[in-house]
Symmetry: C2
Subunit: 347 residues, 2 copies
DNA sequence: CTGTTAGCGCCTTCAG
DNA sequence: CTGAAGGCGCTAACAG
């Protein structure tokens, strides 16, 4: 292990009152394991009498088939998907996770959860662990632009779908937001409301969403003939406290912005706090909708979309690939799915 | 299948480019599978020469041990925990999930996620699926007070920990909030601030947290010699829209409450919306802290605690039990852990 | 209708 | 130091 983690699948020794096996049921019902297997799977060709008896015994013993052994024997996978998100505490990711869970549950599949905490090392560990567990596929919200470990070769052909990030140098599917379009539109709103000095609170520069949103901001400004200003658009952060500080710095400028676009919900909330604390009249806009956004007591323009749908679409794409791989087909070209955004006005 | 779900572990047929097995590596390295196994596990007793060669071949083939088969052979579990929550879209549960994930990751274990959507049938399905997968244990936020299906699970050697709910007729561990104490304290705050007509927005009557919080409210009133009023404390709901309506009804009373205690974050937000829409001066208090609670422009008293800690404690309790079962020890008496709450004042 | 054989991928045990 | 046998729990395929 290169990590600080004890063991991939450490766990404990077997439980004391071991769960009954097919053999136990067979012994108790005085038939062969095969008969039990057939009965419990509803296979044809078991007399009603024994069928009855086997079922009875199985129930009284609390028998449950061991899906692990079952799947091993059947040479098929366990119907398990790995989901790696950067920060489950952010409602964006928890709703995404919910979308994935729901869509997969409809297919009888389950989700193995991994939180990378924005740490690329941790992300790689999780991915490796998931490979060893022979999962059917992965949905990953990458922590950085390093996606090398997610390529088909690295993952041994295990399908991977990226969420909210364009794959870099790897041929995998991805579900994206209209980061550029949404930001562009929101920024234009600000401009057409008469704002010419518009601050931008960005995400770390190397992130896909961050750069796309910045691009959208730049495009809107350019169209309107407004020059870019480094002092107005230089801040990059992803937590509320840092965003609040950055906003204070913007407001402290000799010629402060009359409006601010925040690149995600953390930045929007941080900016809101600073603006409110100062009693400033700075117009605020941002990417991501969030609960109570309508109740903050100041006008707010947000780029809204459904994070759950993003998760659902990622799951759909992944299931497609899994089916494709299962059919032994050659993997087709990488797919892109874009979740559209809409502008909502609050306050 | 009694459910509408396709199959417990449906999934697809095996992937096309099958992942290499120990045997494949052995063949390519011209040694026996045993030697490969030993080498890759870092077992003693393999000459440096073969060791080198095997590692080389394994890497070039992209070999990854099949943890599933490994664990089957070792007769041990996969280091997997099942987590069943009622609604991952509620920040309370997603933070709880994060706590569970983090605490377990420290032990090299992983979390299998299940969202019951408050549906007891779905909860039972999930639990059964988790049993079949031979997980090491379960953390469950039960959808109802029916916990009968969880007893047999534990008997079969799969430890269960309940979160935010007192076990009913089953001997399992549980992590609870100080529902009674928190509500009692908050209600007393309202009373000592001069409020005598205090509305109560409750959760469905059969839930543990709901009834404990109601009890706390009742206790505070009783102590102060304030009679209970059915018209003030009869509403029970768990979503924002219903809470908003209930609050409107309270405000429409001939003699409306001067303060309201809301039994969870959904109710608090619903109440907030109604109060604000009416421009009422009703004093608001509630269970659960939430982001932006300080920014709503009205005084707010909340019963706060760390949901992540709740998840973490549940994981710790569960790991204890797993270790205990692993050591072949007799299971001790059910444990209770209470997460304390504190009052926070906003606005 | 029921049982036997064999093996999924791996590892413990025992021989060489 | 290395290999062969056997089996974890289950089920196809083939007897009887």
């Amino acid at each position: 292990m290169t990590s600080t983690e004890p063991e991939p699948a450490a766990a404990a020794t077997p439980a004391a009152p071991a769960q009954p096996t097919l053999r136990d049921v067979a012994l108790a019902a005085r038939v062969s394991p095969m008969t039990v297997s057939r009965t419990l799977r509803g296979d044809e060709g078991v007399s009603e009498a024994t069928r009855q008896r086997v079922r009875e015994v199985a129930r009284s013993l609390g028998y449950r088939p061991n899906e692990v052994a079952r799947n091993l024997r059947l040479g098929r996978s366990d119907g398990l998907i790995g989901l790696v998100v950067t920060n489950l505490a952010n409602p964006f990711y928890s709703q995404l996770a919910l979308g994935v869970e729901e869509a997969l549950a409809e297919q009888g599949m389950r989700v193995l959860l991994g939180n990378s905490g924005e740490d690329p090392t941790r992300e790689r560990q999780l991915v490796h662990d998931f490979i060893s567990r022979r999962l059917d596929g992965l949905v990953v919200v990458p922590a950085t632009h390093h996606h090398g470990h997610l390529g088909p070769v690295q993952t041994l052909g295990m399908p991977v779908v990226l969420a909210a990030s364009l794959p870099v140098k790897v041929d995998v599917d991805a579900v994206l937001l209209d980061d550029f379009g949404g930001t562009w539109e929101a920024t234009r709103h600000l401009i057409s409301a008469g704002h010419h000095r518009i601050g931008f609170l960005g995400l770390p520069a190397a992130t896909w969403t961050g750069s796309e949103r910045y691009r959208g901001y730049c495009a809107a400004l350019e169209e309107a003939g407004i020059p870019l200003s480094a002092e107005l658009s230089g801040y990059r952060q992803r937590d509320v406290a840092a965003a609040e500080k950055a906003t204070e710095a913007l407001l402290d400028l000799p010629d402060p912005p009359t409006a601010i676009f925040a690149a995600n919900n953390r930045n929007t909330i941080g900016a809101y706090r600073a603006i409110r604390a100062r009693g400033a009249t700075t117009r605020l806009a941002g990417f991501d909708d969030f609960e109570l956004a309508d109740s903050l007591g100041l006008p707010l323009t947000l780029v809204a979309y459904d994070p759950r749908e993003l998760g659902r679409e990622a799951a759909v794409l992944l299931c497609d690939r899994i089916a494709e791989a299962g059919a032994g087909a050659e993997p087709g070209a990488p797919r892109r799915k874009v979740i559209s955004t809409r502008i909502v006005e609050y306050g």
